[in-house]
């Protein structure tokens, strides 16, 4: 089997409930582990998808249980794609304040989107900002130098 071949595919419409979101994340983490993902890559993916799903439920859908979160995950041993779409009005993802500035660094908010961008290989929002597509490629293995 080619390493690019999809090992696991998840495509579900979730209710705006954080417990449901976390259950989906657990399924993703289990699938990643089964495909050989581990260590810091696994941590970074968990961080990014946690932020993306919480943002969709809390900020996008405002925890309105009549609104849904369409969640698609595709896992291969070398690449994971995560697409999260909420039913909210979106947000201006191009003009977010930088939470690392002196004025904002000690404020308790605004780090989720930044963390997704910093930890993942590629992050793309749709025009209005209610859909994010996140891609993470497996990090190159660290090869110990020969003695």
């Amino acid at each position: 089997m080619s390493s690019d071949q999809e090992h696991w595919h998840f495509d579900k419409v979730l209710s705006s409930d954080l417990d449901v979101g976390h259950a989906a994340i657990e399924e993703l983490l289990n699938a990643l582990t089964a495909s050989g993902w581990e260590g810091s890559d696994l941590f970074r993916i968990q961080m990014a998808i946690e932020e993306a799903i919480v943002n969709a439920i809390e900020h996008g859908n405002q925890r309105d249980e009549s609104k849904k979160v369409h969640t698609v995950f595709r896992v291969t041993p070398e690449k994971v794609m995560m697409e999260i779409t909420d039913e909210g009005a979106g947000f201006d993802h191009r003009n977010l304040a930088d939470p690392t500035t002196d004025e904002l660094v000690d404020k308790p908010r605004g780090r989720g989107v930044m963390l997704i961008r910093e930890l993942m290989t590629e992050v793309v929002y749709n025009e209005i900002g209610n859909q994010v597509t996140i891609i993470k490629l497996r990090s190159a293995a660290v090869v110990e130098p020969s003695q």
Partner: protein
């Protein structure tokens, strides 16, 4: 004596309150809210102002949990106290570095390093 569900607190001989976390993964929003309340109560109710957060048991935390640490730091400062953090696993330390919270919060490698730093 205060009852905590998300943290455990021990008092070091030097007067530092050493806080450990019950949850290995700090992600659930209800637990994070409760964690924030318990951390804040250390300062506002129990009047502790020399606080060390020991993360040796924590495997994962979301940015919502980070926000609680920032709020705690503000409260400790307002109480003329000091907050330190130790024993972060490498991946969590990276999150502090990316978000530049390593400039705002005093991170130490080990509990002994952190306790010693309170005496400086």
């Amino acid at each position: 004596m205060a009852t905590h569900r998300r943290i455990s607190v021990t008092d070091d001989v030097s007067g530092v309150s050493v806080v450990r976390f019950i949850d290995k993964k700090i992600v659930d929003s209800g637990s994070i809210e409760q964690l924030g309340e318990e951390l804040n109560s250390l300062v506002l109710v129990e009047k502790r102002n020399m606080i060390l957060l020991n993360f040796d048991s924590v495997e994962f935390m979301s940015s919502a949990a980070l926000n609680k640490l920032i709020s705690l730091n503000s409260k400790v400062k307002a109480a003329a106290g000091r907050l330190k953090i130790c024993c972060l696993r490498a991946e969590i330390k990276e999150v502090f570095t990316i978000t530049r919270l390593d400039r705002v919060l005093d991170l130490r490698k080990t509990e002994a390093d952190a306790i010693a730093a309170f005496k400086l």
